[in-house]
């Protein structure tokens, strides 16, 4: 949901430093509740909860216009706001750094092969995009990714789609065949992968998110196939 801040909150936020150009990230508790939740606020007044739906709400604002969205939004009553510093955030792609033209891509960074392995949290979903329904990096019998396979995050896949981005350029693919399939994988918490940003290659810009699974994933982690 998109909300607007009460004037008192806006006044408080205006007195605080920005997290990035034009926005602040803060933790706060909704009145009547007990758990702190993280929000992003634009212009110290338009508030979005920081979760998996952020990119969709960003797109809504871009498509319908800030003024219209602001006028239609309900107030949200938040207590105990605490600003989050920039160095506490990771992989956060926000308005001022992800303009429509950039289509939510990441600048810089390093490729997955150059980054250390980390454990999956057992909940994150990854998507392998493919031209081929019989993608050979999916073990359809044991339902897993085979070793040495790449995927992207579900979030980046949805960002690519919501911005109507070109996956061939985003993921720097070597041929121009149309991506037709999306294979969903949810690694177990003992599965490891190298996270990274797709680097320019094959005449393409990259900038998407990539994950390299040196050892593949555990059995029964591949769970769904859809059209792209």
């Amino acid at each position: 949901m998109i909300y607007k801040a009460f004037p008192s909150l806006t006044e408080l936020l205006v007195s605080k430093p920005e997290t990035g150009m034009g926005y602040q990230v803060f933790d706060a508790v909704r009145k009547g509740r007990y758990t702190k939740v993280r929000f992003i606020v634009y212009n110290s007044e338009l508030i979005i909860e920081l979760n998996d739906n952020l990119d969709r709400y960003k797109l809504k604002i871009l498509n319908e216009g800030y003024t219209k969205i602001f006028s239609q939004s309900e107030f949200i009553n938040l207590e105990h706001p605490t600003l989050v510093m920039r160095n506490e955030l990771s992989n956060l792609r926000l308005f001022s750094e992800g303009k429509m033209e950039d289509k939510g891509r990441h600048k810089g960074g390093t490729g997955a092969v150059d980054n250390d392995e980390i454990y999956s949290n057992g909940e994150d979903i990854f998507v392998r995009l493919s031209v081929y329904e019989n993608d050979r990096r999916i073990d359809f019998i044991n339902k897993k990714l085979i070793p040495g396979s790449y995927a992207t995050t579900e979030d980046d896949y949805l960002t690519c789609k919501s911005f109507n981005d070109d996956p061939v350029d985003r993921y720097a693919l070597p041929n121009d065949e149309e991506i037709e399939w999306a294979f969903y994988v949810q690694p177990k918490s003992h599965d490891k992968y190298h996270p990274g940003i797709v680097q320019p290659a094959n005449g393409h810009n990259g900038g998407g998110v990539e994950a390299l699974f040196d050892n593949g994933t555990s059995d029964h982690t591949y769970f769904k196939k859809t059209t792209y």
Binding site: V131, R136, R137, P147, L173, P174, N175
Partner: protein, 70 residues
Amino acid sequence: MQDKVKLPDHIIAMLTHLPESGLGYQNVTLTLTNGTILTKRKIVNSEFLLLHENERYLTNDFEKVELDEN
């Protein structure tokens, strides 16, 4: 759309056990049965060689494959 040729089964099997270079592709060096070596080539789906313009190969033209280092 770029032309491609399917590789022989023994090369496909080998590629399936080698890591990808990126999402859905592998950078390889191929040796043909006539001794010709093709360097810095792209394989997709561990199965198809992407051909350059005016290239023509048959599946049985390929003898072995090596993965290029990243």
